[in-house]
Amino acid sequence: MTLEIKELTGGYGQVSVLKKETFTVEDGQVVGLIGLNGAGKSTTIKHIIGLLTPRSGQILIDGMSLHDNVEAYRKKIAYVPEMPILYPELTLKEHIEMTIMAYGLDHDKTWENANELLKTFRLDNKLDWFPQNFSKGMKQKVMIVCAFMTDARLFIIDEPFTGLDPLAVNDLLNIVESKKQAGCSVLMSTHILATVQNHADKFVLLNHGQVRADGTMDQLKDKFDMKDANLDDIYIKMSNEDL
């Protein structure tokens, strides 16, 4: 699975948030999307999943755009939003059932995956709960379960580490790792740099809707000419460039 973003320009209404953004996510890669508040991380993600339409430029998954085949494109993606969105009138169990139906997944096999994930996130005894009874972190876990039980090839996670307890963060990272081993790609946006530094293969640094730099940790150190820097230092240097 490869995700290619070429010269993407877009945003909300008349305002262009993204300006000629270009980067790729390769097969079996975990990519961290990093930038200040308002840099365009969530906007980029919304374009990829097709909630926003690009003004110009292309987004391709395995060479296919959303426009070519909406259903096939969507089946390749699973998405965990920053703010959990659940159906207020469905129980946890029914959310899983509905996702299985929507993606046309194999019922029993997917439930096996789902049960494992539910156990990992300690939700297996809350199958009959409604979203209104869940805390924010629990809702986020539900979204993670629903996303990772599908056979999508690209997983997009928006700010996964805020709101989750440390144990859940650890569990999520393990799941990401196993998906990576299976050849899937993961794109995650985050502010928790220390965590992402250890777990991503590649980083895309966004600033004002443009890709300031991208590459592995070593490539970034070269680009910013900071030998012993960690991601935090690079991030602060990038932010100070504006001043």
């Binding site: 969507r74 159906y87 509905m98 139906m101 019922h107 409604f130």
Partner: protein, 409 residues
């Protein structure tokens, strides 16, 4: 603080007028004209049958007056962020609540006057009360209501109980006793007791409030509840944004879903069916309209009115279901699911046809009860079926398609 209240009130009133305008534009109002007409017709017929005082007359009058005095709460217009941003102004909020109290008097007073006016012919003939008696009691009720509103203001400061006794309950007991005395023996009693309680409450208002502590959480959630009830009422007639309805599990209705096979094209039927059954708003709307329709059909023996009621109410339920589709479509996740818009529309159509069929069958039973097995009842039932088919297979799919095509859903 006075300024804050005035600002809020202005905004609140603009909002209310916006909704009222929508209500009176909507064709739903037709149903209420028919309903009020039917009730008025029934009431005047009923009054004609009363020739002398009834045994049940006085208790009925007392009950109605007791209920109408419960109508109306203090509108504080508090908002969620207040508990963070205006916490420092707590002391000055007393003036704000005073203004709120003054404003909140209007609607209950109007309600008391109208109900007393409508009730007066019945009270005159069936309960043997004179016009003067009725006026005295109505004035007394107004003072009682003022005391009730004062107690609500005490509640904002956590002072709704005095030495372990619930003030509202005590006042209600006073009210019942005075109403009984007024209606059976001596009519000025309600006015006298009402006036006394009002003067006591009013004079001690400041002292009581200052001795308490303002209960922000409670006051804000009370106000949200109140606004929710108001908006839910408007929502019967028109779409109101931000009305989050309550969800109930209703496990005993799960058998309804058994017919839905878990295959991809049924994805949305799976959701819509559960949503309809569990979301109080939609099942409530369906129940209310169906019950009102059945009662009207069982009471009215005019062929043409029954025909209109049958057709209108089936159309209305279909019409009022539409916002549910829109509500689901606003959920972002549904746009990510690999399901086509056509399937969503088909699934929603299935749900609406099923719901309307249930309504149609219930209304048919009411019609057979009133008209028996006759040509008239068959015509009415056939007309209902025609509306059902029109709404389900013609009107609804087109409207939903238009909606999906307009937005980027």
């Amino acid at each position: 603080m006075k300024e804050l209240w005035k600002n809020r009130l202005r905004r609140h009133q603009v909002d209310q007028f916006k909704y009222l305008r929508l209500i009176f534009n909507d064709n739903f109002v037709l149903a209420f004209i028919v309903l009020i007409g039917a009730l008025g017709f029934w009431y005047s017929n009923f009054l004609g049958t009363i020739k002398h005082e009834l045994l049940m007359g006085k208790p009925v009058v007392i009950l109605i007056l007791l209920l109408i005095t419960q109508v109306g709460r203090i509108a504080t217009l508090l908002e969620d962020p207040d508990s963070t941003f205006l916490l420092v102004k707590e002391k000055e909020f007393y003036q704000y609540f005073k203004s709120a109290l003054n404003y909140s008097i209007t609607i209950p007073v109007v309600a008391i006057v109208i109900v007393n006016f409508l009730l007066s012919p019945f009270a005159f003939t069936a309960a043997g009360l004179s016009i003067l008696d009725i006026c005295l009691i109505a004035a007394g009720l107004v003072f009682f209501k003022l005391t009730f509103l004062n107690i609500e203001m005490f509640k904002i400061y956590g002072q709704e109980q005095i030495s372990g006794m619930n003030l509202k309950l005590i006042l209600n007991i006073f009210l019942v006793v005075s109403l009984i005395i007024s209606v059976y023996w001596f009519s000025p009693v309600t006015l006298i007791i009402g006036l006394i309680t009002f003067v006591i409450a009013q004079m001690n208002n400041k002292k009581i409030c200052e001795s308490g502590q303002m209960q922000w959480q409670q006051a804000i959630s009370d106000e949200n509840q109140r606004m929710f009830r108001v908006k839910r009422f408007y929502n019967l007639f028109t779409d109101v944004p931000g009305v989050n309805s309550k969800i109930k599990r209703r496990k005993w209705l799960d058998f309804v879903f058994n017919g839905i096979k878990p295959v991809q094209k049924n994805t949305y039927l799976y959701l819509f069916a559960r949503g309809f059954v569990r979301n109080n708003e939609y099942i409530g709307l369906f129940m209310r309209l169906t019950v009102i329709q059945a009662i009207m059909l069982a009471l009215i023996d005019n062929f043409y009115i029954s025909l209109i009621v049958e057709m209108l109410f089936i159309y209305l339920v279909g019409f009022q279901l539409k916002p549910y589709f829109k509500e689901v479509m606003l959920n972002m996740m549904q746009r990510l699911y690999p399901v086509t818009g056509k399937d969503k529309i088909t699934d929603f159509t299935k749900l609406s046809v099923f719901v309307l069929c249930v309504q149609w069958i219930i209304s048919a039973i009411a019609i057979f009860y009133k008209f028996g097995l006759s040509v008239n009842s068959l015509i009415i039932i056939a007309a209902g079926l025609a509306v059902l088919l029109f709404v389900g297979y013609f009107y609804m799919p087109r409207q939903l398609k238009k909606y999906l095509d307009n937005g980027a859903y």
